[in-house]
């Protein structure tokens, strides 16, 4: 049975150990894989948020759900579970009788992303510092 949280409470948002498990695929003489993943994620997600905001304004539900689905996947895989869970709610929000509206969830999503970004940037700086 799929678990669906009934409240929009903030959960522990980021599990660094999930991201760090990809250290095992680091190859010799190549850039730090974790830094690469962080950079790609921090560049890609805000672009998708813009698309989601525009789609919400335009009432394009399927585009919101499609972008939320993508962000859910990458966030979950990098350990950003809070973002992944909010995206899951957005993806499966029904048009009839939603307890939380899309704009409200979008606000929550961006707030969560801001918190995760700080942690990711800290990890990025730490790794680059170690490699200098």
């Amino acid at each position: 049975m799929k678990f669906v949280s009934k409240t929009p409470t903030m959960i522990p948002s980021f599990d660094l150990s999930v991201l760090k498990c990809f250290e095992s695929i680091q190859m010799e003489d190549e850039p730090d894989i974790i830094v690469e993943l962080i950079d790609l994620y921090l560049e890609d997600v805000p672009r998708r948020f813009e698309l989601m905001r525009s789609a919400i304004s335009a009432g394009d539900r399927s585009e919101v759900q499609r972008q939320a689905h993508t962000v859910k996947g990458s966030s979950g895989n990098l350990g950003a579970r809070g973002i992944s869970q909010i995206c899951d709610r957005m993806e499966h929000l029904t048009p009839v009788g939603p307890r939380f509206s899309m704009p409200m969830l979008m606000d929550q999503l961006e707030l969560e992303f801001s918190a995760v970004s700080v942690m990711l940037l800290q990890e990025r700086a730490r790794r680059l510092g170690l490699r200098c």
Partner: protein, 140 residues
């Protein structure tokens, strides 16, 4: 070489998510495969029309344009492509979707989120338990 031989170590990866594409590509390269990575289903379709030189394909289920299942259905209509095993990556947990995917020709599923080890294992399973020679890893 147009059709894949026993020593073919080339994988086609299609994912519109740059993070997931980079992750899957990195893991496949670490496993010793050469990777052709594209951004969406249309690009994968375009490549497959003229190039069957792959030992495996890894597709995201949901992509703009052509979805993973659409490409697999096309592959199953072409003799030169139907031998290529396909891994489908998805965050959907629907049994109905999985059933439809297997009917379409998906060889294995990899649910998101996944670890590097899970993807490595699934890749090896996709290729009948014959992992390619790993590339040099960074010494710790």
């Amino acid at each position: 070489m147009i059709n894949g031989g026993q020593n073919l170590k080339r994988i086609l990866i299609a994912d519109d998510d740059v993070v997931m594409k980079h992750l899957v590509t990195s893991i496949a390269r670490k496993e010793g495969y050469d990777v052709v990575a594209v951004d969406d289903g249309r690009e994968a379709f375009r490549i497959l029309q003229s190039d069957a030189n792959f030992c495996a394909a890894v597709f995201d289920m949901m992509m703009p344009g052509l979805e993973g299942l659409d490409i697999i259905r096309y592959m199953k209509t072409e003799k030169r492509l139907m031998r290529i095993p396909v891994m489908m990556i998805t965050s959907e947990q629907s049994l109905e979707l999985m059933a439809r995917s297997f009917v379409a020709g998906v060889t294995v599923f990899l649910p998101k989120p996944f670890t590097a080890e899970k993807l490595q294992f699934t890749l090896q399973m996709l290729l009948n338990g014959k992992p390619a020679a790993p590339r040099t890893l960074r010494s710790s």
